[in-house]
Symmetry: C2
């Protein structure tokens, strides 16, 4: 089975590694032929508006998917008109616009913080008045890893309205969303996979809720099951919310939804219509990885179990600096995943997973690992 993937970064690479044992041949649409995914599949180096390149990409594909959410909607639509594309275009365009995304969450009864669209100076002022400080101004589109976000606190001089307008001007007046800042005690994500078999009902499986710690807006560490949720209440809430979301989108594939934890409840932050960094621990810590299950879902094959295969699993990202493989492998139990990328500040170049029977047994090796990883 030939599977097309738009994007050829590390997510494509890990999809490729999961697909080969299933007998899949993956083809990546990616401008750079030397991308991380090139190690385990074919690369069609083309731009998103080159119909000839796109035609080469889709030639002979049984199904197509994407591994990053900033695929232009026109390109996704063009592909979807010719090859089954999963997740579908609606999921993609919903996730591309923070207003559309949060509006969908709200319409499904998934809690979100107060938010408003900011497209003009007047809207900026009105939004600031309605939402107040502290708040966060973000571009509606094309955001990742916390880039281009402005946090606005209660000003000691001047007005919130003035600060929001200034922030919007500093973001070159692109269409933005102003969100109330959510005071939170933790950040978690729910990774789910929904399939729609040729016969029978759709099924959705859920990985255990994952707790995430960010650093400079970039994911630093994930632990599953989430330590902040010892009784599983948040896990149950998250499953119910994500179930509504994927059913409403008739979603096929792996999805990640990020939540803030505030006063023991969840507030949805954003969704990613793809495999997600906070699910990388599933390669080593779950019976079936998010990558394999994504491929199984889009191929309409039965899904594999999302159960943990050990008691607890932690993942630490390698950011900005490629450490010595031998040193990482010297950490007892460390599972090393490098992406074949050159080092650059703030760039994810790999991750390391640790598994243990109990949270207590994870502590020492995790401290050891974190002390050896240099963040750059």
């Amino acid at each position: 089975m030939k599977v097309g993937v738009v994007g050829g970064g590390q997510l494509g690479r890990m999809l490729g590694l999961a697909g080969i044992p299933l007998g899949m041949h993956l083809r990546f649409l990616e401008p750079s032929p030397a991308c991380p995914a090139a190690a385990c599949g074919e690369v069609v180096p083309t731009s998103y508006d080159d119909e000839e390149g796109l035609a080469r990409f889709i030639d002979g594909l049984a199904v197509a998917t994407y591994e990053f959410e900033n695929v232009p909607a026109d390109t996704a639509q063009w592909i979807a008109g010719r090859v089954p594309l999963s997740p579908g275009v609606r999921a993609l365009v919903t996730a591309q616009d923070r207003i559309t995304e949060k509006s969908l969450f709200r319409s499904l009864g998934i809690p979100v913080q107060p938010f408003a669209a900011v497209g003009t100076r007047r809207e900026a002022e009105a939004a600031a008045t309605a939402i107040g400080a502290p708040c966060v101004l973000k571009p509606r589109r094309m955001g990742y890893d916390g880039k281009g976000q402005c946090v606005i606190t209660e000003p000691t001089k001047g007005s919130v309205e003035g600060r929001v307008v200034e922030a919007w001007e500093s973001l070159s007046r692109v269409p933005c969303i102003l969100e109330s800042f959510v005071e939170h005690t933790a950040e978690v994500s729910m990774i789910a996979v929904r399939s729609r078999p040729p016969r029978g009902q759709p099924t959705t499986i859920f990985y255990p809720l994952t707790e995430n710690v960010h650093r400079e807006g970039i994911l630093w560490r994930s632990i599953a099951p989430a330590p902040c949720d010892p009784m599983g209440d948040l896990d149950r809430q998250a499953r119910a919310f994500v179930q509504r979301l994927v059913d409403s989108l008739d979603y096929v594939g792996t999805v990640a939804v990020e939540f803030f934890v505030t006063s023991g409840t969840l507030v949805a932050n954003e969704m990613a219509p793809r495999v997600h960094n906070s699910g990388h621990w599933t390669i080593d810590g779950a019976t079936t990885s998010q990558f394999e299950n994504h491929l199984r879902a889009i191929a309409a094959w039965p899904l594999g179990s999302a159960a943990m295969c050990t008691g607890v699993s932690a993942m630490v990202n390698l950011v900005g600096c490629v450490p010595s493989t031998a040193e990482l492998l010297a950490i007892p139990g460390a599972r090393v995943h490098l992406y074949g990328k050159g080092a650059r500040p703030g760039r994810k170049v790999g991750h390391v997973t640790l598994c243990a029977d109990t949270p207590a047994r994870l502590e020492a090796p995790l401290r050891d690992l974190e002390s050896r990883v240099v963040w750059a």
Copy 2:
């Protein structure tokens, strides 16, 4: 790190899949560019005696290895003269000749059945007299999957000597070994990995003893830990024997040694100086797979744990017939590994692994799996 692998079959493919996350780039020496390993590495399609092709193969390699043991000794020697080759040439040539191999076992105190070399008619007769029936005549070299073996039982008419001579003639009088037939209750294998770090002492790790069932001379099923060894006595014996073997060869990499179990003791049958089919369960059932540990050993990186990550693991080969992936994935807990090969009678095209907490819990899914796999 660029790693060269002589051979590009399914073992190369699984080495490639293990090497990519470690940041390795694998290059395979294999006549057919469309080989199973091509999915996850570069293929240099060349013959073993083409020095120009071999030069392209070794160009820029940090280390080289092989994934099948019938690499011509001259080729191995040529490579080893230019790039570190692990396992070394001595291990390779020892495993290529059943007489050399069994003589080494015997010299190390590893039990073997009575055997004798057969190179002439006179030697055939003398060997038959010394060993008696039942016995097995095999070519000294190039054997795998039980091909070209003759079992000689006590003749009702004529002499054992006559039957052995006949058998030898039917094997075109190639140099052979005559072995006493070992009545056995089980077949087991010990997979071990030895590394020789740049500083410090060599280390050897051992996977739990694996019990194997063959069918028409081809591996059908493996279970680890070996059900025939509930107290671990055979496991301890096997570790001690294999430790002597790898130390004597100053071995680097993964090795498999197959034993017969007879009256509660082990009789060594043969060694494979490479990753081995009876170790495929380690991909899903052990903390670190035999493939990853082979690469870590030859790269002089620290080895990973060989401990089981579940209580018990079973592997069933897919032989001669490529089943529907969707049907295999419908078996609860089945982990599917396809090799990207066309079907042909007697050809291994993939394998499926099952893991369980206890042997009792493995029974029903294993029966289910075996009932669905068609052997052709």
